[in-house]
């Protein structure tokens, strides 16, 4: 076999590798921005895919109900369990209801629901669109005169933005009920818990939490769609896109959550 003189078998130096990785990341961010820009243009033109959007709303919203019922309830339960015991030492049982309500509305509801959705919805979006990409179905959409961003991405972004706050509100409600039941078990009366929640939980907390959920829904759908569209290399590539979508979405959710908290509270 010929050795091409230009080919050396030296591994690339650390700065070269870091530079390469940085360049790759910046390219990906640029591509994601282009995808989102194109999605926004389609939305502004008002040319929406109603059937696809409704199907995605069903998948993100309705089909998430069972799992969020479990995660939301247990989140509320653990909040009440921890606080009821700690607060009892200070005779501060009157704060438990408020703490459960405020924690669910501001943080636990939106963040845990979003992380659950990233695993369930973000992964399935990346897998579905990724499979379409590696089996020429995305190319087929294009040659049939259909922009994949318009047909696949916009419905998912809209459905994510609409469904995730709804599912989050559902988590807030079942979490509060779960917390209430645990508080009763810990000897806090029903009246104390409810009065405390009424006193400390403001509509602002709920609204701010739901605004966070809108953004998280967009993050999950955007990352899942983007990783899907970028998929190359067969089943292996689909697997990498799927895990990549979940990890990226969760990291972005946690980072954005912090900065939104700075903004809201």
């Amino acid at each position: 076999m010929h050795e091409h003189p230009a080919h050396t078998h030296m591994p690339p130096s650390l700065p070269a590798r870091l530079g390469g990785a940085l360049l790759h990341d910046l390219t990906q961010i640029g591509r994601a921005a282009l995808m989102l820009g194109s999605a926004v243009r389609w939305m502004l033109r008002g040319r929406l895919e109603v059937r696809e959007t409704l199907a995605q709303l069903n998948r993100i919203g309705v089909e998430s109900v069972p799992i969020v019922l479990v995660t939301g309830t247990f989140t509320g339960m653990v909040l009440a369990y921890q606080t009821a015991r700690q607060f009892a030492d200070f005779g501060a049982q009157g704060f438990v209801g408020g703490l459960v309500g405020v924690s669910m509305a501001r943080e636990a509801g939106p963040v845990f629901t979003a992380i659950t959705a990233a695993g369930r919805i973000g992964a399935s979006m990346a897998a579905e669109i990724g499979t379409m990409a590696v089996t020429e179905q995305i190319d087929a959409l294009r040659v049939l005169g259909t922009d994949p961003v318009r047909y696949l991405v916009v419905p998912r972004l809209l459905a994510g933005a609409v469904a995730l706050p709804m599912v989050t509100m559902f988590a807030n409600v079942v979490g509060s009920v779960g917390g209430y039941l645990i508080a009763l078990g810990a000897g806090i009366t029903s009246g104390t818990f409810i009065a405390s929640m009424k006193r400390y939980l403001w509509p602002y907390d709920l609204v701010a939490g739901l605004i966070k959920a809108i953004l998280f829904g967009i993050i999950i759908a955007a990352v899942g769609s983007f990783r899907g569209l970028q998929t190359t290399g067969g089943a292996d590539g689909v697997g990498r896109s799927t895990t990549g979508a979940v990890v990226t979405a969760i990291v972005l959710i946690l980072v954005f959550n912090y900065f939104l908290d700075l903004l809201f509270f």
């Binding site: 379409m132 294009r142 040659v143 049939l144 005169g145 259909t146």
Partner: protein, 268 residues
Amino acid sequence: MRAPLVPPQPSASQAGPHDAVVAVRDLWKTFDSVVALAGVTLEVHRREIQVIMGPSGCGKSVLLKHLVGLLRPDRGEVYVFDRPVPSLPEAELDALRIQMGVVFQSAALFDSLTVAQNVAFPLRRHRHLGEHEIAARVAALLALVEMEGTEPLIPSSLSGGMRKRVGIARALALQPSLILYDEPTSGLDPLTARTVDDLILRLRADLGVTSVVVTHSLDSAFRLADRLAVMDAGHLCAAGTPEEILASTVPFVRRFLDTRTVVEVRPS
């Protein structure tokens, strides 16, 4: 915007020759320092079946993707219906694309849709038709490819040959005047392959469409071609009528043609 009284005529310097449905000039494409197309020039004339053959990885599918604007060239020109494909804005490219039918190697049917929904997909998006009319057109298209009654099936339940035929039906839905076939018979048994070849010939005879067929099957190539082009490592190493290709003295063409198998029955 002022509407022109006559459709704008491309200037002589920009346009491809008028009898050529497809004109490719000095087309170059490189992927990560691998040269996929190295200066390909080719014309496809109206109502002809142009076959592009060559071994796997010679760049023939890459060439096909340039015709429909799925890839942009590094250098060179691509004209389809006298329109410069690489420089068209997205909306005009979409309008051009729906005048072409593309049959993908893997058929590329949408898994989440039924056979009927797949075939109806381009009709629903680009034609304003009632449900009855769509159903009638889908049935007619499926009959054309001998897939009657398969409307409610999902693509994953079909065999490779059936998927390919549904893919052809979908590509024909908007009555394109140019059809691009990417390996239409690869992975099919000889009988099914023959059926697909016959279908391609019939579409040209009945509807007068222009066809570009990319294949590595010599059998299909010589059965279909009005004109043949042979590709090797991104180069077009021979082009002409089947007779001219058979008589070619280009070493690669000779080697490629010599792979034809002659079936003989051993005397008992």
